[in-house]
Amino acid sequence: MADLADSQVVDPGIDGAIKTLTPEAIERVIAGALDRETAARLKVYLETCVRCGLCASACHTYLSRDRDPDYAPVAKVRNTIGVMVDRRGKVDGEFLRSAARIAFTECGTCRRCSAYCPFGIDVSYLILTVRRICNLLGIVPQYLQDTVNSHAVTSNQMWVQQDDLIDTLLWQEEDAQGELPGARIPLDRVGAEVLYSVIAPEPKILAQLIANMAVIMKAADVDWTMGTSDGWDNSNMAMYSGDFETMGRIERRHWDAALKLKVKRVVMGECGHAFRGAVYDGPRWLGWRQPPLPMVHAVEFYHELLTSGRLKIAKKIEKPVTIQDPCNIVRGRGLHHKLREVLHMLCEDVREVDPRFEHNYCCAAGGGVINCGPPWKLSRMKSIRVKAEQFAATGAHLVITPCHNCHSGIEDILKHYKLKMEVAFVSELLVKAIERPA
């Protein structure tokens, strides 16, 4: 039984949109989407799932909500796309309301269940198909849609204007120079070795992270640049709202910007979903087998700088730390071992959670869930009790995670579950620990 409080959440992006739909429109849109946009995967997954329920033990939502069977992946699929397919789109507003709640707020598309289903059914794909259909019907949680609107208008997620961005980068350059003389943030430098790509929340609300990066780049003597024209932000909430046209536009612009700067490669800041969008979902929508330039995630980049000796550690972090493996760079890139190597070089006392690596629980914030905003926050907290218990068991003082969604989600978890811990990005430890060249 779905949680009563959650099913009563009022979200104008969902409820308001449903009121405008007629049964004929609903049927036409759903049947059209199924015919045009789905094929063998959807058919075979739905036809062959034997409903063994083994996927349940993969899902943090199910585990956190006292094993309520309605939160098992198989139930989420049956109660959304399963019904849409069975009834060929003949569904009502009440059904759509519940399907949207399930698809947008109770699944983070973290893909853990695909490694728990004996058949490897791609539940994340099925849930994203539900979101796609909701999007085509105009049903998207209001806060999430606002970020997509920003993407569509400004090419970045947070309505950042170009003059604001440049001003922020110059300001961060000054701050970085206060930390390490000679640090620079070279803007739009053609032919640099590395384009450092950030998501819009960095200049908007976490600007010091960019100064940290300037210090790291100076200390490692990297030839780098940051872009200031459209395409500098490669976060991609449209990927999660089901607005795949906008998703494709964002990724094309991002890669165009990198190609114009003639850089050798792109280093993606500490964000998981942006990496997924730029390397997998975006290129696939655009019909590219892979991105036009190599992209490495910050974890790989730090690993490379530390193991090659370009960065040296002067003083390790002493307090006990634990790790949150982000789905999109662990199940999505296999970076968990490199992340461990980096953190063991940086910290004296690394405490592991159980389970970890590819089996780590999702943060419940990623996949667009946190972007559904305040109306859904309490629901999100109820869905992530297992994570809080995992952290508490480590006795660590600091949770390290190289992902913005994980970071924001964990801040909420620590507050909600009253854990006396803090959360940090790897770069925040790096700037404290590295040897600064004289």
């Binding site: 058919k43 062959t48 069977p69 198989v74 049956r78 490897g120 791609d122 019909g287 199940r331 890139r333």
Partner: protein
């Protein structure tokens, strides 16, 4: 009656099984081109790696989380596939009809394997009723499917031991066997046909594309 079951009905069953399997696989494998992502990212070594971890008992974490289910499920599936091929009564039929002969199971072992299939099927039904996460998504069709699968084993056992009228039981055994075989391509039993493709695709996406394990 028994002649009808042994003759035309069995032919119909094999025709439906073979024809249905070809139709099911062919139509969906062609349709998979429209998915755009299936064939370009398929990687046979990574597919094989993933399949291997899911056909070896306890090689995946989820199997280790459910030890009893893993044992029952593997025993059930192994006996389900092997017993009909190796039971002596069937070997005689192969020999009579086609002149083919191969090794067959001692009667006692075949009986035990049949009981494993029946017991496993009953265990699945009990689990479907007792485990909330399974009951929640179970319909009468899921129960019927399990009954369809174990019915030829129940009737086969009864016929072999002649506990009930022999001819009637043999006829019933053939009829239930025919239904089971014919149902494979047209029901959720098609998981049997699709396992390697589905697991292989996910193994490719995890292994070849994303450098991660999916077991």
């Amino acid at each position: 009656m028994i002649e009808l079951a042994r003759g035309p009905l069995t032919w119909v069953a094999f025709a439906l099984l073979v024809g249905g399997t070809i139709w099911n696989l062919y139509t969906r494998l062609v349709l998979a081109r429209k998915d755009k992502v299936v064939y370009p990212y398929w990687s046979t070594p990574h597919a094989a790696r993933s399949i291997l971890h899911w056909v070896v008992p306890f090689a995946s974490r989820n199997m280790r989380l459910h030890p009893l289910f893993t044992i029952v499920s593997f025993a059930f599936h192994a006996c389900l596939l092997l017993t009909p091929l190796l039971v002596m009564g069937h070997a005689v039929l192969w020999q009579e009809s086609w002149g083919l002969s191969w090794w067959s199971l001692p009667a006692g072992v075949a009986d035990a394997m049949t009981l494993v299939v029946i017991g496993g099927g009953v265990a699945f039904i009990v689990r479907r009723i007792a485990a909330p996460e399974v009951r929640n998504v179970t319909t009468w069709r899921d129960h019927l499917l399990i009954l369809t699968v174990i019915a030829p084993f129940v009737t086969g056992l009864l016929a072999h031991h002649q506990l009930l009228p022999y001819r009637a039981m043999v006829t019933l055994h053939i009829v239930t066997g025919v239904v089971w075989l014919a149902a494979i391509p047209f029901t959720r039993l098609s998981h049997m046909l699709w396992f390697v493709f589905m697991r292989g695709y996910m193994g490719s996406e995890f292994g070849a594309v994303r450098n991660a394990r999916d077991w």
